[in-house]
């Protein structure tokens, strides 16, 4: 290699490249947080720090919050933390300095929030957590936590299956595609589903593997499930994407998804709803990102000093095939 006789020109190139990267980075950074004085025309000012834009679910979450803020007449100061806790802490401190009326945020991680939450409390600004929680021992540091109940989602899926298989004689063989091993949604959905299906001993989960919440993972695992188990009656996938991946494996095995194998998933993203409407899925328990209206409602209550429950669940529903057909045209994500 030419390391030995380093000419100066390549260094120029490297420096240029570095400068370009820095420039692009700073431009991007400018674009994602709008600073300015809090408006004082009587409107409630809500400072919101979002995790990032890592998935379609998250993008829908952001859109919902922005739209419902505009509809509720609340001035929204939106910050994208780009998956970094330090960005989020910085944003919250900015909100405190600007004296916003209410602060809301989706914590990137669970721990390390006590100091900045204390600062907000000392400044008299109520804080609302959305979607994800924090592990602070002092629950008075935040007003409330609004988000999905993953255990309930698993339970709803299980309860639907129990209802469907009420009179069915003989064992019903269930296979489960788990989410990322150890993640809260995977643990909780598994727990809820197991609790709900325990009432009928003929419902048996014969295999359960992690598909990592991805389509490729769901497909690869399902291929082996199908080969190892000649009789599979039900597939329960912890999210739509793994279920969508499994569809192809089921078809390749010469079975008809939705008929030979009953498929239950969680999330209700657009592709999943489409599969449900097409009769390939049988049931979806929703995990809704559209918590904007509820959040605005809470922000108003918090601003007026009203008491609110410390844990509020997102309004979520479930979909059957017919309901999916009706709901699909208006689906936002």
């Amino acid at each position: 290699m030419r390391k030995m006789r380093m000419p100066s020109r390549p260094w120029h190139a490297a420096a240029m490249a570095l400068a370009t990267v820095l420039l692009v980075g700073s431009v991007a950074a400018c674009g994602n947080s709008d600073t300015g004085d809090a408006g004082n025309d009587g409107k409630i000012v809500l400072g919101f720090s979002q995790v990032g834009a890592e998935s379609g679910w998250r993008t829908a979450n952001t859109t919902s919050i922005k739209e419902s803020a505009a509809a509720a007449g609340i001035e929204l100061k939106f910050d994208d933390a780009q998956q970094k806790q330090e960005n989020q802490i910085k944003a919250i401190r900015n909100f405190i300095q600007q004296k916003v009326d209410v602060i809301a945020f989706s914590p990137v991680v669970e721990s390390g929030w006590d100091t900045v939450l204390k600062e907000a409390k000392d400044a008299g600004i109520p804080v609302i957590l959305t979607d994800r929680s924090v592990d602070s021992a002092d629950k008075s540091l935040y007003k409330t936590f609004i988000g999905s109940d993953f255990v309930k989602e698993g339970r709803l899926a299980g309860e639907w299956l129990v209802e469907q298989k009420k009179g069915t004689p003989g064992p019903v063989n269930i296979v489960e595609l788990q989410g990322t091993t150890g993640s809260a949604p995977a643990n909780d959905r598994k727990k809820g589903f197991a609790e709900a299906t325990a009432v009928n001993p003929s419902l048996k989960t014969i295999a359960s593997q992690s598909g990592d919440f991805t389509r490729a993972g769901g497909k690869q695992v399902m291929e082996q499930f199908l080969k190892a188990n000649p009789k599979i009656d039900v597939l329960f996938a912890h999210n739509d994407d793994m279920g969508l991946g499994a569809l192809e494996a089921i078809t390749a095995a010469g079975k008809v998804p939705g008929k030979d194998i009953t498929i239950i998933t969680i999330d209700a993203v657009k592709d999943g709803m489409q599969a449900l409407a097409d009769g390939k899925f049988n049931f979806i328990a929703e995990c809704s990102p559209l918590l904007g209206p509820q959040l605005m409602d809470l922000a108003k209550k918090a601003h007026d000093g009203e008491q609110v429950s410390p844990r509020i669940e997102t309004e979520e529903t479930t979909f059957t095939q017919d309901q999916a057909k009706a709901a699909l045209p208006n689906r936002k994500y």
């Binding site: 290699m1 379609g56 359960s208 992690s210 990592d212 991805t214 690869q220 082996q224």
Partner: protein, 356 residues
């Protein structure tokens, strides 16, 4: 007696013996667990069964590991292949998804060309950083490993792009002569690389650069050019793997496609007997390494090992494979076992022949 022993040593001493042995043991263990594991039947005019799944799913890893073998042989490493997989797959899928007729062959070919094009550019970027500017390969390719993931998400706008294109799907799921097209593409690529490196002096040049870049340069080899081309080749292999991975599920997921494939590829290269320090490389060993890794993953699902213990199970198997592969470790074991008998001391590792 001596004859059988020398023949035995000739077989066990072959660099492919231990990877093959490991693969056979894994398949046998699976067959004991479930007798139908190896059964293959004809379904819809093509072969269907777990062995076919393993072949099809290992195709992308074989491709990525091929490029990685050449890069490692030059004394480098390419950490950016996972991101490259995501970028090329996302580029092709994005283009195809915007076409009015996703099934049209020209549209699919254009999409593939775009994906390959961007991989060429990024591979050249890696090559320039390493070969021209002289940045350490692990750092130079780390840049794209991190930034490339972001680039892939930028292309997909953080969403999963779903496409419905027959010709594109065939790259991942099609069949030719009852065999999966993906594995045929991977093997064709392997043959191509083997032909270029073993039938010409290129292979020796690559190995000499990996052995001692400065000495090779003084001997008249343009080391920089060889290193540059290795990174471009690696990027192209990753791009084709990206097409396969996205075609397998007819969707491009910028976040998950090819995630950690660089580590699997490096592992496949090591299992195959190529030293991470560079120098001599073994393409057939790499292919076996990739097959072993995919068989391991499939075994976890086929034996229904719980996800919590699966990682530990894989780690134990990989450690065992690497130890068995290491001549020093084998020599120590055999020496202890044969401490008393009259057999001659284990000879130093013989010079390996260049495989065809």
């Amino acid at each position: 007696m001596t004859d059988t022993r020398s023949r035995y040593r000739a077989v066990t001493g072959h660099q492919l013996f231990w990877p093959v042995a490991v693969l056979v043991v894994m398949l046998a263990a699976n067959t004991i667990y479930r007798p139908g594991f190896l059964s293959v039947e004809v379904n819809n005019g093509h072969l269907y069964g777990t062995p076919i799944d393993i072949l099809r799913l290992s195709a992308p890893l074989i491709l990525v590991a091929l490029g990685m073998t050449v890069v490692i042989s030059t004394g480098g490493i390419d950490l950016s292949v996972g991101s490259m997989v995501a970028i090329s797959g996302a580029t092709a899928c994005l283009y195809i998804s915007e076409q009015p007729d996703q099934n049209s062959l020209p549209a699919v070919l254009t999409g593939l060309a775009m994906g390959l094009g961007i991989a060429l550019v990024l591979g050249a970027w890696n090559g320039v950083l390493v070969a021209v500017i002289g940045i350490q390969p692990i750092i130079a390719t780390l840049i794209l490993m991190v930034a490339g993931r972001g680039l892939a998400q930028l292309i997909t706008e953080g969403q999963i792009i779903t496409i419905n294109s027959g010709p594109y799907r065939a790259i991942g799921l099609g069949h030719v002569l009852t065999l999966p097209l993906a594995i045929l593409i991977a093997l064709a690529a392997a043959l191509l690389v083997a032909a270029f490196t073993r039938w010409t002096a290129l292979g020796m040049i690559i190995e000499s650069v990996g052995g001692n870049a400065e000495a090779s340069r003084l001997a008249g080899i343009r080391s920089g050019r060889v290193v540059f081309l290795a990174y471009v080749l690696s990027a192209v292999c990753a791009a084709v793997a990206g097409f396969m991975i996205t075609a397998n599920v007819s969707s491009a997921d910028g976040n998950a496609a090819g995630l950690w494939v660089e580590l699997d590829a490096i592992l496949a290269v090591v299992i195959g007997g190529t030293a991470l320090a560079g120098g001599r490389f073994h393409l057939s060993g790499t292919i076996l390494g990739a097959l072993i890794i995919q068989t391991l993953t499939t075994s976890v699902y086929a034996m229904n090992i719980s996800p919590q213990t699966a990682l530990l199970f894989k780690a134990v198997v990989v450690i065992a494979v690497c130890l068995i592969q290491a001549p020093a470790f084998r020599a120590r074991i055999t020496r202890q076992r044969r401490a008393a008998p009259t057999s001659p001391p284990t000879p130093a590792r013989e010079k390996e022949e260049v495989p065809a």
